[in-house]
């Protein structure tokens, strides 16, 4: 008979974490579903706060220059395109872009311009937008430059769309986002947060406190991969923060 014992690697099935909590509290199988629901609530809460690992996908741009969110998208973290080095070059968030008829396939033709003084030729980006006068760019002291960006977008959270400007010239975008917890037979939990989920279940069953839950999260966070302090990481921080600059 194949063993159904869960393997404890980086991830652990939520069901196993719930079983550990129930075992600690000496609960019966009749409480399993309730405890699992509590565990899932803990997972969702922690996923939004600390434990999520962003997913990156390439999504094709629709003909009306919008991009639908992935169905499991909880919140986005980066919207951009890839450069030749495999880095994500983010798009400029331009909230001046209208959400008018953004769910309509005929969006582009429905957006009739009232004024026609927009700058053309943006596909030849990047432009240096600091100050432009008489076909010449000037560097103005004290004025920010903005980032080098290859297009602008606006996020319509209500309709779960990324709205791109008319001048966006690329077929797809790179979309990095926090997803809802994924099922893989069962939901998978980062092992670092096993104790936090157990603490949440105990808190909701009046066997623990809210403070214990947040303490367990803080403890779990310290063991996350991205939070680990390594020699090469410290070296990089030192090198990058050292520069010639005015010091107070």
């Amino acid at each position: 008979m194949p063993s159904t014992e869960p393997q404890f690697g980086k991830y652990v099935p939520l069901r196993s974490v719930v079983a550990l909590a129930m075992d600690e509290l000496d609960k019966s199988v009749g409480d399993q579903d309730r405890c699992w629901q509590l565990g899932l609530r803990a997972l969702v809460q922690m996923n939004q706060q600390v434990s999520a690992e962003p997913l990156t996908v390439r999504i094709p741009v629709s003909s009306n220059k919008t991009v639908p969110f992935p169905t499991d998208c909880l919140t986005w973290t980066k919207i951009g395109i890839l450069n030749s080095n495999g880095e994500v070059s983010t798009l400029k968030i331009n909230n001046a872009l209208t959400t008018f008829r953004d769910t309509n396939p005929n969006r582009l033709s429905d957006l009739t311009a009232d004024i026609t003084d927009s700058i053309t030729g943006i596909p030849n980006a990047p432009f240096f937008f600091n100050y432009y006068y008489n076909n010449t760019y000037f560097n103005l002291f004290g004025v920010g430059t903005g980032l080098v960006q290859y297009g602008s977008c606006r996020v319509d959270d209500e309709n779960r769309l990324v709205i791109l400007g008319f001048d966006f010239e690329y077929d797809s975008i790179i979309f990095e986002y926090i997803s809802t917890p994924q099922r893989n037979g069962d939901y998978r939990v980062l092992l670092s947060f096993q104790e936090a989920i157990i603490a949440f279940i105990k808190w909701k069953l009046k066997e623990g406190t809210r403070q214990e839950f947040y303490a367990a999260i803080a403890e779990g966070r310290r063991t996350l991969n991205g939070k680990k302090v390594t020699l090469q990481g410290v070296n990089q921080v030192i090198r990058e923060s050292e520069s010639q600059k005015l010091r107070s």
């Binding site: 008979m1 019966s28 399993q32």
Partner: protein, 222 residues
Amino acid sequence: MASLIAYTKKMLIERIKRDILNDFPSSEFNVSDNEMVLYIDQASAFTLVGQVYQGAKVSGNLVMPEAYLTTYEIPSLAKDSVTGYWKGVLPQPPVSLPIGYSVSGGYFANTSNGAGMEVIWIKPNRVGRRKDMPQQFGIHAWIQGSDIYFAPSNNIPLLNIPFYITMAKTRTESLTETLNLPDDAIEMIFNNVKQKLISRMNMPKDIIQDDISQGATNITNK
């Protein structure tokens, strides 16, 4: 290892009869064995529930004494064509403890795969709202009376897959089966049944009360 005598309900019935009649039962004792079994089963269910709640006072949690538990096989389930739920019949309705204690477990099993994962038990007050919540992958089960319903999360057919359920048994299969009781419960069941039978037969019993005072008398002790 020494082999021990197996206690049966037949023996319990005999003991109760002899205790009540102070002798071997005669034809005047018109309580049938079947009637006594009803009293015994009733008393054992009552004793069981009491013991579980007594135990909770010690450990802080409800715990079902293992001796009451029996695993039954429910060989065939039928699918309700309207609701899509699968339905089976339990040997008896569970005792009045929360699910998880009245029924302490259940799983599907067959010879090629062995025992499957525990089904996901849904308490009666959660059956209605379970579809409004995220659902676990697995087979959800709930009980109404003697009927047990199953709803697999992936709609897998449960035809011809035997279901095994472990639950507290308080009824009688045969008079000669081994008593599935902890020995410490026999005393309570014995007394409970005896009291009921005495009352049922309206039998006179000598009451010896040594502590009654002599009382008033006109005979002097002089």
